[in-house]
Symmetry: C2
Subunit: 204 residues, 2 copies
Amino acid sequence: MSGVPVPTIKYYLREGLLPAGVLTSPNQAHYDDEHLRRLRLVRALVDVGGLSIAAVREVLGAIDTRGDSLHNKLGAVQEAISEPGSVELNPLAVEDVRAFFERQGERKCVDVTESNVTHMLASALSAARSVGHDHFHELLDPYLEGLKIIAQADLEYIARRGSSDDVIEGMVVGTLIGDAVIKAVRRLAHAQVSRDVIGDGSDD
Amino acid sequence: MSGVPVPTIKYYLREGLLPAGVLTSPNQAHYDDEHLRRLRLVRALVDVGGLSIAAVREVLGAIDTRGDSLHNKLGAVQEAISEPGSVELNPLAVEDVRAFFERQGERKCVDVTESNVTHMLASALSAARSVGHDHFHELLDPYLEGLKIIAQADLEYIARRGSSDDVIEGMVVGTLIGDAVIKAVRRLAHAQVSRDVIGDGSDD
DNA sequence: CAGAATGGATAGCGGAACTCTCCGCTATCG
DNA sequence: CGATAGCGGAGAGTTCCGCTATCCATTCTG
């Protein structure tokens, strides 16, 4: 039904990404719509989000955990879907991040390695500096401006969902698929700019 | 000097990601700043952009190609840094993309598989539908609105660069590092929204 | 001059994500 | 009824990728 190869499903079962089916006999089990839904979620996280199997397990764990506040759950999920970034941090880049937070009136983020997200940001800015883009951090403010519009739309989209669980799942899906969509649309925008400004014709 | 292990550099040389040094004797070669710069670029593409070695080779090839218009080069580079997406396309999602293009007054994109970028977009929307997010495509317009601001900033940033080659390289670096930065900042915006709207305290 | 390092080439390693194989049993079709 | 295809479960095997390790003759370094 899902189009996923049977051995792959067996593998996911073993890895704990899917709950076991209800055994109706020693070698027959029943799987319902919830299994199918979960399987599709796993595939979406892997294919579109590029998450590792381990990260998917973490995310699912956070989704399934009960008895934590919505905000905390969202935080846990966000950490799970954010890779820290493997670049050695440049102190100047760390300072860029700190200054950015200060401009935005954030009192937090004394330590950039505290969260995967801030580490990711510092890591990206470090990489920029390592290839000679020392002023890349100046893009942070315009980026934030654009992303506020996007985050607002995300919020309204999420708010339409029903239960708290749906919100969490919607957050995960919306964030990861949103990342992919944003990536693609930004490239389209670049191509359009390239056509309009440079022209697709003769001059170089 | 780069901090990259010697055997890794040898590997990159073999893979054609770095040009050979100038031999001063049978087992001694000279590497200049250009080599170092190229090496750092490769690491940035791999670490921050998450590109495979093969994709890096493609990108470098496009950067180094001479005798093509800037616009075409940018197009080639953009294809190289955009993974097509491995999700089976949903016709409804393809239609979402088509409608989006029509709304934006684009006459192109009769075929969504024509470019990695449009394929990526259709792939992401297909994944959204497969997990029950049938209205995700409604986010395309607000996303574009936010991304226009971002693309404008990108353009101004790139325009400050000198030669045509610098523009290409700046485009690659700016796009990939920009992706990472955008991802991180969007998550920060989400966290902020989560704090403000839901509150980080007691209620669920 | 000893010892370390170099360019170049080949082979091997470790992790990740499947995929294969085997087993005994069971659903299904004609 | 019998033949055949398929299942659940578990271990082992495969493939790919990005490095590492080893080796060699030569050459730089202290």
